[in-house]
Subunit: 156 residues, 4 copies
């Protein structure tokens, strides 16, 4: 099982705690964490996963494996900048968004386009003028709820 | 000047009329239309641009130039599927979103991440839990307003 | 008709003269020049094409349209570095390689993999241990010969 | 340590034996195998690595993790077709080419462009008209020699 954890490359200490707990719980359930490989939410999720003996994969936007945070086991070097966001979510069976800015929003949108479930923790709210989208981000109350939903909804 | 027009590959007749008018007005102002090269909003925008003697560029997701709608002058064949969305907006100096689903939302998010202005016609409303983003989609009242804003805000 | 001209971003004056003549002849025949948008062979080919009133498209590896050489009419901004090489050849109906180093070799290989004809002027010689490849680079004697062959062999 | 093994998606039984031995020896030395994730040389290298308890990563060109051969531990889903070749070699610290056609040649060229060492087993011979390239493919006599050279030359 591979689950993406997405969010800002810089984040508050509170958000990092949430992401770390998400990573730790995913690893405890035997799921590998895939992420963008950089700092902030990505690093916190990887740190949490490693604290529970999990496996972490970082899909990097730049051209050097040394860009990866120290908790990435497997750095994938794309050199494709923003386009690597597509690969992060395409490689996951479900996605957990922790907060996030526009880069995260692009990942959410790509995932929903591709039919990959997205669970949100304090993340984006999406609507189109005058109506809600039928599909969308599945809200979660806390890390345990997010991990539970991400594993239950994961595609094959 | 290059302006992206983004939106669904399948759309209502009303939405197509809006997109066609956007394309026509852009061409009248001397701006080239860049889009994803397929049907729906993309085709309508290209048709409008050609009706006013404009230039149209289609950044295709597939592997064949024959995927382009008949109003594309310059098909760019990426073979990169969703990742081509990044190229559509990166190649534009501003973006006009006409309606749109999750693919369009990914383009909006990539553009906003990259600092490229996005003008919306009946498109997405974005908020994060508890607060609005400071930057975001600039709403327009009609095609003329959208084209005016897109040209005024275009980056160099 | 779109023909790619590929080669080094830095090149000798002699090589630039060859590339410029290739661009000029392509434009005279009504073909648009697609290239990587940077200097050297790419710039020379674009300069030649513009001298004959042609259209030039530059598929850029970086994130700014300002990276394009001054003879590019339509800069396509990919931000995908080496991966943009795939788009250069995929968008062409045939390819003319003028000299070239490893980046050019990657474009030649992608083109031949995709079934897009490649004509070479002082470019790579390819063989596998113990045998020649049945398909491969079509050698040309001079720019006129290269353009003639590229137009004759172009795929639809 | 991550080493790419590249080659045809369909190959002879003899070539598969070579690739399998390469994968096995890499795993015995503690190196992870990164490849394009499909059949032929890629599958044989992964099978060899798994037979020695190694870790295997498949960078897939398509849109489904189910495209991966059964010996891939970590499927990375790019949806970017040929452009994924860049990611295969960029993610490796050195590359071993086993035979190979034009797709493999594109990977070799991208690796050499990026300064990533390439060791060849019955693979391409490269020359430019009238002169050899100073850098190029490092020939190996057999799988053990290839693995020895790939590990010795690997970049950080």
């Amino acid at each position: 099982m591979m689950v993406a954890v997405i969010g800002d490359g810089f984040c508050s200490a509170d958000t990092a705690l949430v992401a770390e707990e998400v990573g730790r719980l995913l690893a405890q359930k035997g799921a590998a964490v895939v992420c963008g490989g950089l700092g902030g939410v990505m690093e916190a999720a990887c740190r949490g996963a490693k604290s529970a003996g999990g496996l972490t994969i970082g899909i990097l936007p730049g051209t050097s494996r040394r860009d990866a945070n120290p908790y990435v086991d497997i750095p994938i070097v794309t050199g494709m900048r923003e386009a690597r966001n597509v690969i992060v979510v395409s490689s996951a069976q479900s996605v957990i968004a922790v907060g996030g800015s526009f880069g995260t929003l692009s990942e959410i949108a790509h995932a929903l386009k591709l039919g990959i479930p997205v669970v949100g923790l304090s993340s984006w709210e999406l609507s189109k003028e005058g109506r809600d989208e039928p599909r969308g981000i599945i809200p979660a109350a806390d890390p345990a709820d997010a991990v539970h939903k991400a594993l239950a909804l994961a595609i094959e």
